[in-house]
C-alpha cells in the first residue's frame, strides 16, 4: 500500500518536475545569450553607448544572410543541444534526487524498522530484565521467608532443648541435693568409718587410706538390691584414668546374683570420677574393692 502510494507520489513528482523543466526551458531561453552583467567601472559610460553594446554587440563584419541563417541554425542546434543536455541533466538530477529520496525513504524506513526492532528488543529485554528482577526478588523473599522460618524453627528447637536441658539440670541438681542429703545422713557413720579408715591408713600406709576413700565413695552410691542376702561379700575390679574417670568395672566373686553384681557396677560408675590421692605418687589405676551387703544403709 505504502509502496503504491510512494510510486504515485514519485509519478506525480516526476510529471510535475517535467512540467517545471519545460517551463524553465522556455523562461531560460534568453538566459544563455545574456552576457555577464557589466562590471562596474570607474568609467561613466553613457547610456546611449551602453544601449548599443547591450542590445546589439557590434559584429566584426556584417554577416551574410546565409551566414546568419547558418549561425541561427547553429545557434538553434546549440540551443537545442543545450536544452537536451539541460533536460537530460535535469532528468538525471531528478532521477538522482528521486533515487536519493527513495534511498532516504528506504533509509528512513530501515531506520524506523530498526528503531522499532530495537525498541521491541529493548522492550523485550526490559521485560525480561524486569521478570528476572521480579523472580530474583520473589526468590529472595522466598529465601528470606524460608530462612526466617528455619531460624524460628531452630530458635524454637533451641529453646525446647534448653528448656529440657534446664529441667534435666534441675532434676540432676535435685538428685544431687538428695545425694548430698543422703551423704549428710551418712556423715556420722562416715566420720566414724573415715576415722577407722584413717587409723587403718596409719597402720597400713597411705595407699590403703586412699583406696578406702574411694571405697567409701562407691559405697555411698551403692543401692543394695532388697533381694540380696545379708553378709554377702563381692569383689569389684576397677580400672581408672589419672583423672579418676572409671574405664572399666568387673564384679567377680559375687554370690548374690546378677542384680547384686549390677548394683555394684552401677555404684562404681555413679562414683566416677573417683577421688584422687593426697599424694599423686600414690595413684593406683587398678583397684580391687570389696563390699559387704550388710554395710550399706
Amino acid at each position: 500500500m505504502r509502496h503504491i502510494l510512494d510510486n504515485a507520489i514519485a509519478l506525480i513528482g516526476s510529471v510535475a518536475l517535467h512540467g517545471v523543466l519545460v517551463a524553465l526551458l522556455l523562461i531560460n531561453f534568453d538566459w544563455g545569450d545574456e552576457p555577464p552583467p557589466p562590471v562596474q567601472t570607474t568609467i561613466k559610460a553613457r547610456i546611449v553607448s551602453d544601449e548599443t553594446t547591450v542590445s546589439r554587440p557590434a559584429p566584426p563584419a556584417e554577416p551574410s544572410a546565409a551566414e546568419i541563417a547558418e549561425r541561427q541554425r547553429q545557434e538553434a542546434a546549440a540551443r537545442e543541444r543545450r536544452q537536451r543536455e539541460e533536460a537530460a541533466r535535469l532528468q538525471r538530477e531528478a532521477e538522482a534526487r528521486e533515487a536519493a529520496e527513495r534511498e532516504a525513504q528506504a533509509q528512513a524506513e530501515r531506520e524506523a524498522q530498526e528503531a522499532a526492532d530495537r525498541q521491541a528488543r529493548e522492550e523485550a529485554e526490559r521485560q525480561a530484565r524486569e521478570a528476572e528482577q521480579r523472580q530474583a526478588r520473589e526468590e529472595a523473599e522466598r529465601q528470606a521467608r524460608k530462612e526466617a522460618e528455619r531460624k524460628a524453627r531452630e530458635e524454637a528447637e533451641r529453646q525446647a532443648r534448653e528448656e529440657a536441658e534446664r529441667r534435666a539440670r534441675e532434676e540432676a541438681e535435685r538428685r544431687a541435693a538428695e545425694a548430698r542429703q543422703a551423704e549428710l545422713d551418712a556423715q556420722l557413720q562416715d566420720a566414724l568409718e573415715a576415722e577407722l579408715a584413717r587409723e587403718g591408713a596409719i597402720e597400713q600406709g597411705l595407699q590403703a587410706k586412699y583406696i578406702e576413700v574411694i571405697r567409701q565413695k562407691v559405697r555411698r552410691e551403692w543401692r543394695v538390691p532388697p533381694g540380696a542376702a545379708n553378709d554377702i561379700v563381692c569383689t569389684v575390679r576397677v580400672r581408672q584414668l589419672r583423672s579418676g574417670d572409671v574405664v572399666s568395672v568387673v564384679v567377680s566373686d559375687c554370690p548374690g546374683g546378677e542384680a547384686l553384681s549390677r548394683s555394684l557396677s552401677i555404684a562404681v560408675n555413679r562414683a566416677s570420677p573417683l577421688p584422687p590421692p593426697d599424694d599423686p605418687s600414690l595413684f593406683e589405676p587398678n583397684l580391687v574393692l570389696r563390699f559387704n551387703t550388710s554395710e550399706s544403709e
Binding site: R223, P225, P226, R262, E297
Partner: protein
Amino acid sequence: MRHLSEKNQKNIMLSVAFWRQWLVFAGVFLALAAPVRAELVIEITRGAVKPIPIAIVPFGWSGTGNAPGDAASVIRSDLYGSGRFDPLDNDVMLERPVRGVDIDFDNWRFVAVDYVLVGRLEEVGDELALTYQLFDVYGARQVVADSLVLEPRDLRLASHRVADAVFEAITGVKGVFSTRVAYISVSGRPPERTYRLIVADADGNNEFVLLESAQPIMSPAWSPDGRQLAYVSFESGRAAVYVQTLRTGSRRAVSDRPGVNNAPAWSPDGRQLALTLSDAEGNLDVHVLTLLGNRLVRLTERRSIDTEPTWSADGRHVYFTSDRGGAPQVYRIAANGSEDAPERVTFEGNYNARPRVSPDGRYLAVVHDDRGRFRVAVQDLETGALQVLSDGSLDESPAFAPNSAQLIYATRREGRGVLETVSTDGLISGRVKSVGNDVREPVWSPYAR
C-alpha cells in the same frame, strides 16, 4: 493374662448363685461384681533412703486410633508405689526412644538414671503386642526384654507384669504388681451394718465385691492357686466356713459344725484347710480338714485357747496361737497330727499372736505387744530374732505378699480401720487410702498360676 476374662462369666454365675443363696439365707447378698469406688490406693509414707533412679519412657503405639492405654504410666506408678524407685519425670527426658537401638545412653547418664525402660504397643489383629526392653545405663547393656501378646482389656494386667519383670531384674525380688488383695469392708452403723468381701488389684484398681452380707464376714484366705477364697460368714446366724470360686462365684460351706467354725488356712498343696473348731464345752482347738472326703484331724487337745492356725511353707507343720503358757504365744505342731505336744516358737515379750509364715519360709509375722502397743513384727525362723516393723498401736492381721518382701496389715487411724503396708526389711511403709469404710483383714493373693 486370660484370667481376668472370668469377670463377665462370673457376673452371670453370681446372679444364679445370688438367687439360690437368697432363697436359703435371706439377708445375704452375693453382690453382682459391680465396680465400686477404689478403696485400695497405696501411698508411700516412707520410701527407701536411696531409691533407684529409673526412666520409664512413654511407650510407642502403632495401630488404629489412640493407644488403648498408657502402659508406661501404669509401670511407673507401680515402681514408684513400691517405694524403691525414683522414676524420672517425663518432661526432663532428653529423648523418647521406643526401641533399644535408638537409645543414646549419654542422654540418660546426664540425668543420672541407673536404668531406662523403653517399649511399644502394637496392634496385631484383635490382639496387642506389648514389647519392652530394660537397659543398664552405665553398662549400656540390655537387662531384660520380652514381648507379651494380650487382649486389649488385659493391658493393665500386662503392664503390671512388665513392672513385675523390671522390679525382679533390678532388685532380685519378684514384683507383686500383678497380684491382688482381698479384704473385708464394713459400712453403716449397727444394726444396719453391711459387710463386704472385696477383691482388688494390688494397685487398687478393678475392685469388685465378692460377697455382701448384713452379718459379719471374717478371715478371708486365698487358695494357693489363687482361684478360691475361704472365709467365715455369720450369715446363717453362727460362724461357718465357706469356699468360693472366683471364676464362677459358686461356693459351698465346708465347715458348718455346731459351735465355732473359724480361721481357715489353706495348706500349701491346696488340699487341706486348717481350722479352729469348738467342742461341746466351747473349747477352741486347731484341726485340719481334708477337703476331698471331708476328713477331719484334731491337732490340739487342751483346755487352753488354740486358734489362728497357719501352715509352714513346706506344709509339714501348723503354727498357731495358744494361751497355754498363760499369755498368747505362737506354737508349732506337726500337721498330720503325729505330735502330742506343740513346740513354742515365740519368746520375746508377753504377747505374740496371729502368726503367718512368709511364702519363702524364712519369716514368721506376728502381732507383737511392743510395750503396750500392738504392732506387726517378723521373726527370723532360723535365728529367732524378732524385728518390729509397724509403728501403730492397734496393728493386726499381717499378711505376706507372695514375694515375701512385703506385708499388708490392718490398723486403726482416727477411729477407723485402715490398711497399711510395710516391707519385710522394715525400710518402706505405705498407707492405703480409704474412702471412709472400715477396712480390715487384708490378705494378699498368691501369684496367678
